[in-house]
Amino acid sequence: MKVDANNFVSVAQIAVNDPDLQEAVSLGTYNGYSKRLVAMFSNGHEHGEAMRQQAAAMRRRAIQKLPDLLELAEKNMTANGIKVLWAETAEDVRNMVLDIAKKRNAKLVAKSKSMISEEVALNHAFEENGIEVVETDLGEYIIQLNKETPSHIVMPVMHRTKREIRDLFMRELNMPFTDDAAEMTAFIRKHLRQVFVNADIGISGGNFIIAESGSLCLVTNEGNGRMVTAMPKVHIGIVGIEKVIETIEDYATLTQILPRSATGQQMTVYMQMINGPRREDEPDGPDEVYVILVDNGRSKVYATKYAEALTCIRCGACLNACPVYQVTGGHAYGWVYSGPIGAVITPALTGLENATPLPQASSLCGKCKQVCPVDIDIPRMLLDLRHELVEKGMTDKIFDVGLKAWSIGNRSPKLFIMGGAVARFGTRFLPNRLPGPLGGWTKYRDFPQFAPKPFRELWKERKKGKPS
């Protein structure tokens, strides 16, 4: 998928003025945020926090040992009958999948939701090669039908209202009029049934890979994840190399944390541990299972101070909690991963020059870290990225000059006092709207009046009046 993050400011401006988007995203983020709060702390605050720390420690341990765990996972998956492939780039992934599809003479591919397949622009590659690919997650199906991209890691179509989705189904699929989400869902269910039955290949992502058992784990709710891994003859799982975990006990812990953080469920409806193709005595399941381990920049991130971002389990909690995401939605972030974690991952994976506004797209309020099930210090990384922007000369010159003046003015009490006096004088004559960068302030707020006397003078007067 093309990176379009440098337009954050202008896309966000459109988003905050789009009433449909505001309605949909407010509803979606509020829903996710409040459900998570209940689910995570159903055994009390202390217990929920302890669970977070347990999950955080486990993910950090796994990332610390990543190369060893990947080798172990490969060995055990192979022993289980899974064909393991390694892809360095997005293009590698597309070529590998197309090779398999051509070998099997595939005409129809059924996909379950996978962010990494968006990352490597897989659907486009299928279409170019005349292979029909159908997204089967309801939200992803809507996205595909509307020819747009997902705006949320967990809720891909969070930015659309029910009215918009209804109109889309009526326009594209001749759905009879209804206002009922259950009727719309039933309509799509019927529509997608034959896709599952007839698909030659099923494609999924992967939430985790358990190294010690060689299992690909999928955590889903609708059932399409089970369909695409059970019905077609071939199943291909596309998984980032960072998704490997050490033990099945770790999986049990993470499955308590992930659904609570993502959707506020105790458990998702279907939690699969896929150990390979159909065994000889089994009545159904695919004959071939592939797992493509995808790097696509991750090994580069591994060597930086943003490696902590690789512990992310893609629950979307930081998106729901983020006051910026709540008013912009996900598309402004310009790539697959949005919200606070996207503001770190996008520059880290695709290059800072392709995403210069993202580290700035935060008030550093800290909610992302607070809700993160694995306690990723996103504000710390945003600050590091901002520092990198300055070091690499990727900032606006007006701020370079302004902050330099600020720094010089605040190293010297004399200059500081002088600056205060100028501001005190100046703010008396300020118009209601200011030009330049300060115009951003006065567009929504009045400017504060500087006090007639600074504190330091009041302090002196008080000391004079009340000698100690």
């Binding site: 939200g139 058992s213 059932g223 190399i241 959707t263 105790q266 458990m267 089994e282 902590e308």
Partner: protein, 214 residues
């Protein structure tokens, strides 16, 4: 010539370890673990959780009442998708279906309305059914038909997923990854992709009955 695999692993190995120091793993915690671990307590909690998930638990069923209940759900349908009968802990089910002239449908027939399965275990803390693929146990039976009836024995109810994993750990990792697919079912297929409205029965069954035999 180095492979992609070697290059990726090489880069990871060449990098400094991402974390300076890793604190020792904190003591293990579990969410919502049942307090009453007696058979009665586990069953009560399981039933409570199943209800919360908008599924239908049938308690204290003996073989006769279980069969009667299942026939009631099947109603006038002429076929069902089922596991092999020896995999379902309910004697007499096969005969009862035959007596009614109810056929075993083709596994990929998406016209069949009801699927009948057993389970390898059930978890009280979350109301989950633990399933493993295997001989005579088509995965489709709990997936394709819109109505799923799972028949379990009361003594199959464990406290939680972690307990089941402890059992697998004791038996050896091979007992965990021998089946091609282990999966948990917790509630009915659901989505809230359209305006956050919770809708049951998207692609999997929207109606799940859990018959608990005494």
């Amino acid at each position: 010539m180095t492979s992609a695999r070697d290059r990726i692993l090489g880069k990871l190995r060449a990098a400094q370890k991402p974390f300076d120091e890793l604190p020792p793993a904190p003591p293990k915690r579990y969410m919502s673990r049942p307090e009453d671990l007696s058979a009665e307590g586990l069953r009560a909690r399981f039933v409570q959780e199943v209800k919360k998930l908008s599924c239908i638990p049938i308690e204290h069923a003996d073989a006769e009442s279980a069969i009667e209940y299942i026939l009631g759900v099947i109603g006038e349908d002429s076929s069902v998708i089922t596991w092999d009968f020896e995999q379902i802990p309910l004697t007499g089910l096969e005969t009862a279906l035959n007596d009614r002239g109810i056929q075993r449908g083709q596994p990929r027939d998406d016209k069949v309305r009801v699927g009948i399965t057993g389970a390898v275990a059930a978890f009280a803390s979350t109301g989950s059914l633990m399933m493993t693929s295997g001989a005579g146990k088509p995965r489709i039976a709990s997936l394709l038909p819109p109505v799923h009836i799972a028949v379990i024995h009361g003594n199959q109810i464990l406290p939680d997923f972690d307990t089941w994993i402890e059992q697998k750990r004791a038996e050896g990792i091979g007992s965990f990854n021998r089946p091609a697919n282990n999966f948990l079912i917790t509630g009915s297929s659901r989505t809230s992709d359209i305006a956050m409205e919770s809708v049951l029965g998207v692609h999997g069954p929207g109606e799940v009955h859990v018959v608990i035999l005494v």
